[in-house]
Structures are given as structure tokens and as C-alpha cells.
Amino acid sequence: MKALWRFLTSLKTCAWAGVAFCVAGAVGSVVMGSYPELFADMDAQVFAGWFARKGIADPAPTLWLYGLLLATALFAANAACCTFERLVQIFRGTATMRRLLPHVMHLAFLGVVLSHLVSAVYGDRIPGVAVPQGGFAPVGGTGWVLRLDRFDAVMAPEGYPRDFSAAVTLFRDTTPVARGVVRTNEPLFHEGYGIYIKNFGTTPWGAPYAVFDANRDPGATAILAASLLFTAANLLYLFPARRNDA
């Protein structure tokens, strides 16, 4: 038990997890291009669903993902145990509070990993909801129907879009539950889902249409909070006085 604890708190474990992560990621970045039929739809659904279907069915080309997940898990366990050990030292009075700052970064890192896990399991991806202007389209299995009230595009003389936006209304049954203008970088949020405009065009009968994605990332807010905590602790850590003997 002691040996396991030493392993989990050791900086050597951190080093080897880092090496394993980098190697697995580098291999994966190349393998992804070799198996486009396997990896192309990776972002069209939440990771857990994709991995359960394709990672297990075809383990050879996804072996690097197993390595990446194992290395991440080892990193997280290493950070958690290291921080627990330091908290015990502080509680017992054998370490000062000044030495806590790197562990705030550890906790923030753990927050990001765990929140990402929540998004990867309980999130939802609904790609390609195409709606003509004035028309309706169901939004996946949410029970909502999206109406495109109006679509506007500002085109540059060279022919590419400078700005485009869509006024939309979201209905449950026949009751409108949300209304707003969706444009690039400005999604419409409702009940944990973000509605994003992805594409647009003209139907064969000449009406404009827009294509939307709907995404739900239940861990996103926690990831943002943890990331900001990490950044704040990181900035404080840059002051040498706080870094001594950390």
C-alpha cells in the first residue's frame, strides 16, 4: 500500500505520464489522418458514445486513445495524491500556506479533467439542423422545434461572407420557449444547449436556409471556472516570492 502511495505521489510518475501522453498524442495525430473513415465523426457526437462504439470495435487504430486516456488518468491521480499529501503537511503544520499555490493549479487541473469527463459522457451533439427561412426543423431528441424567422448575410465583394446572422425561435410543442439572433461567435443558449449557426445557402426554390448545430456540454461552466482558477494561480506563481520552495 505504501509502495502504491509512493508511486502515485512521485514526480517520476508525473514524468512518465507526461512522456506517455506526448507519445500517444503524437502517434494519434498521424493515425487519425490514416483512418479518416474511423475518426471523421469523432466530433459529431460526445466522446464516450463514439469511443464505446468505435474504440472497442476497432481497437488497433484507436490504441493511442487508450494510451492518452490512461496517461491522463495517471496524471490526474498523481496531481490529486500529491495535493492531498501537501494538504496533510499544511494541516500538520509541517508546510506553510505559501506552498499551496501549485496545488491550487493541481486542483484546477483536476476540475478541468473531471468536468471534461462529465461533458464527454452526459453531453449531447446535434449537428446539421437545416431550416429554410420561415420553416421549421426538429432539434434532435430535445423535443424542440427551431424556426428560422429571418436570415441575413453581408457578403464581401470577393464573394465570401463578412457577417451572417439568423433570427430564430425555439418551440416546445406550439409554445415558443426562446427567441434570439444567432450569429458567428454569438450562439443562442437555452436549457444548457447552445444553438450555433454553421452554414447557409439557398434552396432550389430560391429561399435562404441556414444550418445549425445544437450542443450541450454540462461540464463547460465548471471547466471555465477551473481554467480561470488555474490561470489566476499560475499568474500569482510567477511572483518569485510565492514560488520559493514551492
Binding site: G33, F75, R125, N185, G194, D217, I223, T231
Partner: protein
């Protein structure tokens, strides 16, 4: 005005070239404020500021702007970390690392193009600017690593440690901005593409490196010495180059030029 801003670009390139020439010839300026590189940084800042004003967006889109910002960040990182007499030797390799991207940019189409709507957000400028600042510090790390491996020196060792730490901090903040941007622009804050994977590789690499510094004091690691640490700091720049140029140019990526 469009022509003037490019004159500033060429003058900055000439200043960086002069700095590299002097350093390779073994001629050092009396102080960093009197160096051609410092003049180059001022000209370069004026060029980037003017281009920002003329184009209406942060000059960080496309290969030309990316390379010239990369060069600028390498120079700024050097000025921040490399001002003492003990660390001055690092200017020789670093001046080359400043010059090369700027010279590369000189070979590329410099026309200003409107920004694609998804890039038209402050998160884009923050993400790219902070990431490149991180890259600049990592470039300084390569220079300190080379100098330490050739001649040692505690001041150089400490400066190399700061380069990894500052670079890691800037790069982390850049990743946070990138995640926020992606969340508002496309939905997911993370997608599975080679560029994103390599960005995390850079982050993990330098996160690990900043931890390994503490190994000798604790328990030792087979063969982990200051020299190996400096070698790893220097090699980190290779990981950065693969992420910035290798992945964007060789693999299909969300960040292709």
C-alpha cells in the same frame, strides 16, 4: 499608409539581420537598449500596430502574419529574459530564431485580407497572441539550453527555467482563451484534430518539464541532471515547431494556413 507599414516590416527585418550579423561576428552591443534588435522590436511593434489599425483586426491571421508575430514574440521574450551580462551569450542563437520567421514572412504574400467572421472576436487575438508569446519564451529556452550545454552557468540555468515557466504560463492562458473562443464560435471547446492534440502535447511537455526541476531535491531520477533538463528545455522548441508549422503544413488541421 499601406506601403508605409510594410517599410516598417522591412526595416525591422533589416535590424534583426544586423543583430544576427553582429552576434555571429562576435560583436556585442554596449547594452540591450543600444542593440539593433531593440530598434527592430520598436519598428516591428509599430508595423504590427499600424497593420492592426489598417486591417481592423489583430494581425494574426494567415501564415505571413503568424510568422511575423512569432518573430516579434521571440524578440520580446529575449528582451524580458536575456538582459544580464551572464545571459547575453544566449543572444547569438536567439537572434537567429528571431530573424528566421521574419525572413520567412518576407517571402510570403503580405496583402491584408478581411477576417473570416469566426475569427472576428477578441478571444482570437488573445488566444493567438498569448500562444505566440509562449512560443517566444520557448524559443528563448532553446537558446539558453544551447548556451548552458556548451558552457554551463547558474544564471543561464535559472533563465532557462524562467523561459519554461513563463512560456507555460502564457501558453496555458492562450489555451484557456482558445477554449472560450471555440465554445462561443463552434460549440465544443475541444475538437479532435491534430492541432488541438499537439497543443495539449506542448502544454503537457512543459508542465512536466516545470515539475522535473524538483526531482533531484526529492528523490532523483535515473540520469536526470541539469544538463538533461537543459536538453529537454531546448528540445521543447522542436515540439513547438512541430505544433506551429509541422501540424499546420503537413497534417489536415483546424488551424491550417
Amino acid at each position: 499608409m499601406e506601403g508605409v507599414h510594410l517599410i516598417l516590416f522591412w526595416l525591422a527585418l533589416a535590424a534583426y539581420g544586423a543583430e544576427t550579423g553582429f552576434r555571429l561576428a562576435g560583436v556585442a552591443p554596449a547594452s540591450w537598449r543600444r542593440s539593433p534588435l531593440f530598434v527592430g522590436v520598436l519598428l516591428h511593434a509599430a508595423f504590427l500596430g499600424l497593420r492592426w489599425g489598417l486591417s481592423g483586426h489583430a494581425p494574426m491571421a494567415g501564415l505571413f502574419e503568424s510568422l511575423t508575430v512569432f518573430s516579434f514574440c521571440c524578440a520580446v521574450a529575449g528582451l524580458i529574459l536575456c538582459r544580464s551580462e551572464e545571459t547575453a551569450a544566449a543572444w547569438k542563437p536567439l537572434s537567429i530564431l528571431v530573424l528566421l520567421p521574419q525572413a520567412g514572412a518576407a517571402l510570403i504574400d503580405k496583402r491584408m485580407t478581411p477576417l473570416y467572421p469566426a475569427l472576428d472576436t477578441p478571444w482570437f487575438a488573445s488566444h493567438v497572441g498569448l500562444s505566440f508569446l509562449g512560443y517566444g519564451f520557448f524559443a528563448a529556452g532553446l537558446s539558453f539550453g544551447i548556451v548552458f550545454l556548451r558552457g554551463g552557468g547558474d544564471a543561464v540555468y535559472r533563465a532557462a527555467g524562467r523561459s519554461a515557466l513563463y512560456g507555460f504560463s502564457a501558453f496555458s492562458a492562450g489555451m484557456v482563451c482558445g477554449g472560450i473562443w471555440a465554445y462561443y464560435a463552434w460549440g465544443p471547446y475541444w475538437i479532435w484534430t491534430p492541432k488541438e492534440i499537439w497543443s495539449v502535447i506542448v502544454w503537457i511537455y512543459f508542465a512536466t518539464l516545470t515539475h522535473l526541476k524538483f526531482i533531484p531535491a526529492q528523490e532523483g531520477w535515473p540520469g536526470w541532471t541539469k544538463r538533461l533538463e537543459m536538453g529537454a528545455t531546448a528540445a521543447g522548441y522542436g515540439v513547438v515547431l512541430l505544433t506551429f508549422l509541422g501540424v499546420s503544413l503537413l497534417l489536415r488541421s483546424s488551424h491550417s494556413f
